[in-house]
């Protein structure tokens, strides 16, 4: 475990741009509220850290929350919509809409650095460039078992050092 944090990169320019938009937004409280909404398939991660929450904007109906799917067929998106709605209604918001946008497409560069740390803590190798390191022992002696794992966003690996199988959150550029 000693060196496993060494490969976690600094924030990407893509994430920095998202963060900058959030910081100047007058909807800071809404963003903070939505930090409680997690990805149902990756409960370690908030939709903000995952990059699925794109932006909170003004709209004719009051508030517009823009989200984007990780992969085209991501079945979690419908649940995420519901969870956003529940979260906002719970805080007393009524006039809002949730819009799905695919352009520009989601990439792993939109994820926060915190997301990488949380994935690794959850036993999933984060999407960092270079060799895929075992989240259990930190070894980079790993081998691809299958290009897909339990969800479209992950691949299945095995560690040759500690023999543990694990998921790798794929790099999508």
């Amino acid at each position: 475990m000693t060196s496993s944090n060494a490969t976690i990169p600094l924030e990407t320019p893509e994430y920095a741009a998202r963060l900058a938009r959030r910081q100047v937004s007058r909807h800071g409280a809404i963003y903070a509220l939505l930090d409680a909404v997690r990805d149902p398939e990756l409960p370690e991660l908030s939709i903000w850290d995952l990059g699925v929450l794109r932006e909170v904007r003004d709209s004719e109906r009051g508030l517009s929350v823009a989200i984007t799917p990780t992969y085209s067929g991501c079945p979690a998106l419908a649940t995420i919509r519901e969870n956003i709605a529940t979260c906002l209604r719970g805080a007393g918001w009524q006039g809002f809409e949730i819009v799905e946008e695919v352009r520009p497409p989601w990439t792993t560069a939109l994820m926060s650095r915190a997301a990488c740390t949380q994935l690794r803590a959850g036993g999933i190798a984060p999407p960092v460039s270079g060799s895929v390191r075992c989240p259990a022992c930190g070894s980079d002696e790993t081998v691809l078992v299958s290009e897909f794992a339990s969800t479209a966003c992950k691949a299945h690996y095995r560690c040759r050092t500690c023999l543990e199988p694990f998921d790798h959150f794929k790099v999508l550029t």
Partner: protein, 246 residues
């Protein structure tokens, strides 16, 4: 051809292939492959939904009506996507041909004069690159595998080969949209596609099929005998219980 018809045609391609791929879940060579097939299927189903969603904005019907309330004659997918794959080798052969096409076609479609199509293409292109890597790896694994797997892979490639021509043959009505820069010129993609496929076949120790037959008709709603039974299964629940909700 109207933009709407073109968008629905691309949606049908994705839906029909997604349905075919999802049938492998539970029947693949092993568990990991079940998951991989199902996840690849999801990418195509997701792409179909994006395209049908855009079709609805263009004045078409909703996604469920496109998927579940049309008969085979109204589907305009290309024939290669509807082929049943009782043999895993055939599934791998078809997938390589369409993934290699997808990567080239979607890359061009990213520059479409139509911003919505360009956006959907940009999303799908990222997935297509991954699909192609996977299908090329399977081709090499089976082609350059045992004598039996080599033989079956070669036969599967011969069996599917005649369906590839339709990928590169724009129907007459599509040409107007090509001229407007909305759709890529399919025919122009063929040399690059052939080079990519040949390289993978070579690596897989397989011969480029010499088949001189070819079929078409999908975009005009003229299908093989395989589409209607697939739709009957896919549409059964929706047609038996219209408007049912989970």
């Amino acid at each position: 051809m109207s933009l709407l018809a073109a968008v629905v045609g691309l949606g049908d391609d994705a839906l029909v292939l997604g349905q075919r791929l999802s049938a492998w879940c539970g029947k693949s060579p092993w568990l990991e492959e079940d998951l991989a097939m199902a996840n690849t299927a999801l990418d195509f189903l997701g792409r179909a939904r994006l395209l049908y969603g855009y079709a609805e904005q263009l004045g078409g019907c909703d996604e469920d009506a496109y998927a579940f309330q049309r008969d085979a004659r109204a589907f305009t997918n290309l024939l290669i996507y509807e082929l049943p794959c009782a043999d895993f080798a055939l599934a791998c052969a078809r997938q390589l041909l369409v993934d290699a096409f997808d990567v080239l076609h979607l890359e061009k479609l990213c520059d479409s004069a139509d911003a919505n199509l360009a956006g959907i293409a940009a999303k799908a292109h990222k997935e297509a690159r991954y699909h192609r890597r996977r299908s090329a790896a399977w081709l090499v694994r089976l082609g350059d595998g045992t004598a039996e797997s080599h033989c079956r892979m070669q036969k599967a490639m011969e069996d599917v080969w005649g369906y590839h021509a339709e990928l590169f043959a724009p129907v007459e009505a599509e040409i107007g949209l090509v001229e407007k820069g909305v759709l890529p010129d399919r025919a122009a993609l063929r040399p690059q596609w052939l080079a990519a496929v040949s390289a993978t076949l070579d690596e897989a120790t397989l011969e480029l099929p010499s088949a001189d037959w070819q079929v078409d008709g999908g975009r005009r709603g003229l299908h093989t005998e395989h589409l209607a039974p697939m739709l009957a299964e896919m549409q059964h629940l929706h047609r038996s219980h219209p408007g049912a909700r989970w």
